[in-house]
Symmetry: D4
């Protein structure tokens, strides 16, 4: 809580427009709602400006449905990641306009379209097996209002495929680069552009890829500057960070 | 190389304004200069818009001096990271206005001030021992034109110190968070702000910190969204990425 | 065996009240019972003051039932951890009052309530997926006689949720903190309280969490003092240690 | 900050005994002091009840002296860990009663003796090379007011040495167990006692000890219940945690 | 091949008792038999004095049956490890006296009893879950002719159980110690005996046991001398090595 | 793209034989075909001289069938690795002469035999369980035109089996050595031959083999010179590299 | 303590030949001597039959001298490992017949020759850099009474050197095999002999040898049976274990 | 030893032209020479066709001088790697024409030039700090007779530098690629050429490069086929393997 906000509240207390009890309650009972197994943070859309997302893995279908319903009931848009079609079938019973995006393994419930963000995000992926993660990033970025360009199957062993799409990549304001195995693509892309690059290692590979560790280490050690790395397979995180960067560009924020 | 640029060049070849030999040379001899042990990339300031930086560790003082001189000779500003006072004494012989920034272990040679970037970068550091890395980020960001706010010694075990400075952190357009040991600070900060967070793990710690591995893993696994991670102790990388993000905000870029 | 106990026994031998044969037998045949595949330690309730617990994972249902029966036959209370409903159905055949606590994956057979321990244990958990481990700790602590306060879904990325419950946490005599992913919660909590903190990393997470390694390392490297760490997912161990600490408070122990 | 404290403060604001400006300042400027490179937390002795400790490694002698002076100036007792005799010679210039405890590599400045804690802490160490860590724990525990019993050189390969001292270990209210190499001692000790065991792995060993990793993993996997583990070589942390546990025993706390 | 053997063979060639062709064949066609997917080494019983053992994991039932038949056809005794009852049902069709030892997951086909080895092997196991590995060691040792004493469920957290059986352990000529989790038992046992100790880490445990790594490292770092370690879960290897040590004791070998 | 090729193209542009538009298109649209989920690189057979191979793991049967059809439609030969019989049944519907090579888990579709490569490749494998990887290497090498000699079940613990086949190994121009567990075979083989050795670690083993890590590290640390290592279980990569080496020998390449 | 010994002692107590006080003292004060920083275990020569060895690394010269003097004063022979010539110069002042064995970095003080053990130990080492560890094993084995044959520089990449010495290796009763880098030698040697093999990985190597980890893992995964592994660089442990094995051969033990 | 060779020898024994004693001696005493600390393998130049190289690290200057002298005395050329100028000053006393190649840290003693190998080796290096390893490879390849083209400072973040030199790389018969940090260069290069690529990870980097592990893993997981990897910093191994590949091209070998 900001000292500034605090001071205002305290002024109101002295002025009598807010009682001490009310002030204390206001400070204490921030607007979230307790479902028992989870606290739904309705405050988040206000605080961070972006609606809530639900990480589906490790939650029961019933838990997901309950959280989705509660968020939707407040009129917010919802994104569920790491989920599947069976969950969607359950969700759609109460949220008829819920969509299942198979390639991204995501569900979205969108009462209205997102406020568009300025600029574009290019999402480059090295191989076919990296697509689920790339699509999770793409769906996330779209959900939060970004325009997305997909540049897929442009692994570094076939530079001509990548260079052929360099124009699209260079025109973006943020580039998300998704790669497994040796994870070299972010270094090559970051050398081609003058914009922030978000690197997403994937668990694609076998043997000494150690479930994405090889790609992760490669990306952290990139010889190119301007690369920020997220967790292995974390397409959502990359899309979200990309949108935060784009949002900084909007006139209203200045 | 962009198909667009290529087409223009080829048109010029057909139009006769560029000879095939010239075109081939232009394509082949991109503007860098070979010092034998290194290729100085004068093209970089054009291509990426940011002047060259030299990673000092693992280079001899003589190599650093030679690269600095060559870049300066082209009128570009220079930043040397991971260096020391002895190297500065050598550099200053030919570049009298070279500065040594001890806390950051950096040398700068700045013929002129940088073009100012829009917005501010807050740099939060968890402990006293994290300062060299935080200062490397701060000097880098300043070198590339950002306004920097330092918020130091705000480790998560003393939340009041951090919350006391939350206003400064929230007013920034990008937050760089530097922490060693358990690396928890980026998660807490990312929960407080609605801007991109760049997390820098440091090698500060002992025992099971494994030279920064604990902090690195913690930051990659942050439960807060909107965090991009750079290599252990990579203050330069964080400062550079922060400036790339800020630059996207300037009107000229749209 | 204590020199003190030994001396008493030897005095009795000299006094004739105990024969050498008896003494040797007494020293050798400590009160445990051999089931072939396991030695049930009836002596434990005497020696450590706490009844026996059975780690269910890796034991067959038949083995668990046999051990439970043998312990119950001696009138002791029993706790089975890492088990499931199928095992409970078997156990309940011979122990009709056996309870299955689903959220904690535990079975308890309690002939009588535990002797109450002085003080309270607060159990804080970072996310919904950490609940099974948190509940294992809670059930364990309750089984051994502690009063337990649950403070769930208070991850560090939403500090307001945590601070809102800070009163409950501070009123406890021992705090158990359960977290996966970046494992930052124990550091933040330990900075808020002046009591012992028991940190339990969980295997919740993916990618670079490496099945709980990231959280474990973070907790071991906590910048806050007063934190003891147990194995990944070891809710039982945390609850047990918490009760040992509480027990030290009882007048009888002084 | 507790809701309770907040309400009182707000009542005072309404009552006029505290002005809004004062209240805001009070909330914002918690009592720490900024030395530039570090924030000295005078509030700590109030908040946690224990005086400040300084982790000496990675701080310059000048920094340590400055922090020590500032804390002493407020009449608090000071403990510096991971330091050496050279620093002591500097400290003693301004703090003539500063002591250097060589075996523990610690400096203490104690204007007055600590408030005694109820109960005793036994510190068991496996080998001669583990003594610096054991002594750091012992000096820390003594500094915070505990009675300490040292039980050294009782590695598990010579059980008779350990069992010979079992009486001392069993009489303690908390046992700190320090061991490198295979780190087996905490498991054996925890099987002998009915009190909390704090396990400290040390970096003693070579080859596959991997600088204490072997001992750390062993302690986390202890088959004995009631063991909390701290970082490798973290004698201070063990001593501090031990004192927190003891303090819970004092009548004033009930 | 020994220079000595070679010289004898060459003498026979010169003497005419062996033709050059025969000698070359003899040197080249050492007595093994090629099944296509495996070379059965009939020479082994001669060369090492111990009959063949088959590691069942990763082989198809058909491959195991084929190898067993081929070895049995040469009148040798056979041991199959890491197998199951289904394979036994197949084997028994052609080898009616094949036994399945469930606790050890082994099949034996023994045309005749083994030549007894001098001395005894004690096999100590820490917990119930370690029994399959301990039994694999026991069955192996028995198969190769050793007398075996089983000392099970004697983990270090209950020293009295272990000390109660110390007599049996001390009377053995070789001790095999099987333990998972923290792997402390070999260190304690090696301190009690004056005979070789073979330590077998098991994958029993969870979390930071990392599938037996914790136990393995602990055993390699044992503070007790006289301990040789085999691979995680390698009960066969321990039993075999134990028998090689025993065999050195028989008069015939001297 | 070579400066030489580029110059020729540019000359043609000036000469009028190629229009700028055509040149740009030629440079941009290199011959690959976009299937949406993958870009089929028809150019590869031209560029690298070897037909396309498909890594089957992680692709759906439908994806594999589509890629196979597209490549076959261009008259190229196809190799699918890491696949199974079910995929083969699908492929054979449209490619009636597709073969399934069970031991290697590969499918080949060969409109015509490969151009034979000069020289031979020997493939040595340590154990029965290494055969699938060895066969993947053998099938790959055969597919690309090499003569292959298989030398299986020659692990270093039975040197006579290996030395018996040393003639075959020495006669090869390239030796591929496949081994799991301790991965010692490449060192021994490289000491016997004067040709390049390609080492393939396999994931065969258990416990401290850590899924092939032990074998991989051993091969990278080989005390014998002349060994290049590929990823764990990467039989395809070894066969492909072997063929690249052989191809360097053909007169046509000089 | 054996039940048998205990019974005898108790009988003596009843018979009056031992007073209860004496018996208790006897049980408690086992014969070791406390130097403050270490407990010298004079009982060891009795209990294990082998005199004391001192691990020199991590002890001060003064500590080593003190322990050596105390042991010598009881007439026992002494071995100091991991030491250097400077320590020897100190030791020799009070123990004039102390020898420094440079290649093994050991000091021995031998009042009299050891009791000879039956049989021989062959020590095979792979490379020149492995000699310090091999010599530590050789000096240890000699110190405890074994006959030692050295077979050095017989790495697996030059099989002829090894096979040339195979006779010596086969004639030994125990073989100690010392190797760094890929650690393959124990597997090859174990395939040649029918005796126990003790494998000692060394830290010789660079890069992916990870300070001996590669060799350690290779030895643990040996495809040859009959191998026990000790810690990296643990020549002493191997020599000691070898002597325990030999001692089992002595007629008195049968 | 080949069966073929053996048969010939045996025929000679029968024919009387070779006595059994001579044959045995010939088989046993292969031509190496024992210096005590090392066996110099004069046979190597015959057996593998390439002269001896000495790994200097971990050998004393005196050992290196002795081995160099012995090899030179047999008229062979010598290469010493991982050495320094001080050793060179010693070597040059007895070998006046010994050269020290500083950039490669190598000494060569070349009585005569090498037999030239057919073809060329291109050595590509990513950064300035990788040069010592690249030069070790270059000096090694030159020493064994290859023509070498150096393509340095062509890291993937500046693709234009690399593509500018693609012609040179493509004209080589073997490409050695040296890179630290993220180790991406081999993947990119292997996609550009149709020849074998030997990848050499270097320990250049910091933080999460873990002394070359990141680069090593990246190279092993290369998405490009045709890459063989050697140990971290193993420039010698790469140069040697490159020459073995080239040698296969010589007419004499066919």
């Amino acid at each position: 809580m900001d000292p500034g906000d605090l001071r205002t509240l305290l002024e109101n207390v002295r002025a009598g427009s807010v009682s001490p009890e009310d002030a204390a309650r206001r400070l204490a009972t921030l607007p979230y709602e307790d479902l028992g197994f989870a606290k739904v943070d309705h405050h988040r859309a206000l605080r961070q400006g972006f609606p809530e997302a639900i990480f589906g893995a490790g939650k029961t279908p019933e838990q997901i449905v309950a959280i989705v319903e509660r968020i939707s009931a407040h009129g917010q848009r919802v994104l569920v990641t790491r989920t599947d079609e069976a969950v969607h079938r359950l969700v759609v019973e109460s949220q008829p306009d819920a969509c299942y995006l198979e390639a991204a393994r995501c569900i979205t419930v969108e009462a209205r379209p997102p406020a568009p963000l300025p600029g574009r995000i290019a999402i480059a992926a090295a191989g076919t097996s990296d697509l689920p993660v790339a699509e999770e990033a793409a769906v996330t970025a779209t959900f939060y209002g970004a325009e997305v360009d997909r540049v897929y199957d442009v692994g570094v062993a076939g530079l001509h495929r990548l260079l052929d799409r360099a124009g699209t990549i260079r025109e973006a304001d943020v580039v998300i680069v998704v790669a497994g195995m040796e994870g070299a693509l972010p270094s090559v892309v970051a050398g081609l552009v003058d914009t922030p690059v978000i690197a997403v290692p994937t668990s694609v590979g076998y043997g000494a890829s150690f479930h994405g560790l090889a790609a992760l280490l490669a990306m952290l050690n990139s010889c190119a500057s301007g690369v920020g790395v997220v967790n292995i397979d974390n397409g959502f995180g990359a899309g979200y960070l990309g949108c935060l960067i784009l949002r900084g560009r909007r006139p209203a924020a200045d």
